[in-house]
Amino acid sequence: MDRLIIEEEQIEDIMLLKLHGLIDSGTAQFLEEKFNELTNGDSVRIVVDLQNVDYISSAGWGIFVGEIKGIRQREGDIKLASMRSDVREVFDLLEFNTLLTPYASSDEALAAFESEQNTKTTR
C-alpha cells in the first residue's frame, strides 16, 4: 500500500495537490520530487490540500520550508489547506504560521491566489 498518494488537479494556472497518507522521512522525498517536477515545469502557484494527511514529521515540514524560498523568488507560493488538528499543532509549534498562511479549505486557498492576482492586475 502506498504510504503517500498525491493527486493533481490543474485549475487555470494553479496546481492543486491533494495528498493522502503520511509525510515522514520515508515519503518526504516523493513530495520533494513532485515539487521539483512542478517548478521545473513552471508551475509555482500551488495549493496543497492536507485533509487526508494525518501525520507530518520534521522531514515533511522541511520540504515545505525548503521549497517555499525558491517558489516565492519566482513570484509563486505554496498554500496549505485543510490541516487536521494534530498536524496543525506541529505546524504552530514550529511557528510556520509566520512563513505560510494556513487555509481552512482548498477553496479558500484558491480564492486567495485569485485575490492576489486581481490585486496585481489592478495596480
Binding site: 515522514d24 520515508g26 501525520y55 514529521s57 520550508v65 517555499i68 509549534l93 512563513l99
Partner: protein, 139 residues
C-alpha cells in the same frame, strides 16, 4: 515491544506498523499514536544521521508502565554523540534564515518529559519518557 530494526530510513515503515500493533494492544488513542510516532521517527532519524559507525541494527524498546510511556533506542558500536546537545533551532527566524535541520529535536523536546542520553562501551542509549496521565502529552 522490543525489537531490532535495520539502521536505515526504509525501516520506518516496519517501525510504524509495529507501533500500531503496540498502541492497539495497549488501547492507546489516536492522539498518543500521533505523538509516539513523531517522537520515535525524530529520534530514530537523528540517530541514523548523526551517529558514526554502528551495527546494521538498532534496538527499539517501548513500554508503558504506571501511565508513563518510555521509548528507548540503542545504537551499538558507535562513537559518542549526545543528541540532547543539539542546539535548539531558531523557529522565529525569517524565511531567508530558516534552517531545515534541528526541527525534529525541537518537536521531541516539546512532547517528552524526559530525554536522557547515555553512552557506555560503544553503546548509545536514548531514553524519552512521556507522562500520559499528567500531560495528556499536550504541552
Amino acid at each position: 515491544m522490543k525489537k531490532e530494526f535495520s539502521r536505515h530510513i526504509s525501516a520506518l515503515e516496519e517501525i510504524f506498523t509495529d507501533l500500531d500493533g503496540f498502541l492497539s494492544q495497549e488501547k492507546l488513542d489516536d492522539r498518543i499514536t500521533f505523538v509516539l510516532k513523531l517522537v520515535v521517527e525524530e529520534l530514530f532519524t537523528n540517530l541514523i544521521r548523526h551517529n558514526v559507525g554502528g551495527r546494521d541494527q538498532v534496538m527499539l524498546d517501548i513500554s508503558l508502565e504506571s501511565g508513563k510511556l518510555k521509548v528507548v533506542l540503542e545504537d551499538f558500536e558507535v562513537e559518542p554523540f549526545d543528541i540532547a546537545s543539539i542546539q535548539p533551532v531558531d523557529i522565529s527566524s525569517p524565511l531567508e534564515a530558516r534552517k531545515v535541520g534541528g526541527l525534529g529535536i525541537h518537536i521531541v523536546r516539546n512532547y517528552v518529559d524526559d530525554l536522557v542520553y547515555e553512552y557506555l562501551d560503544g553503546t548509545l542509549r536514548i531514553t524519552a519518557v512521556m507522562d500520559l496521565e499528567e500531560h495528556d502529552v499536550r504541552h
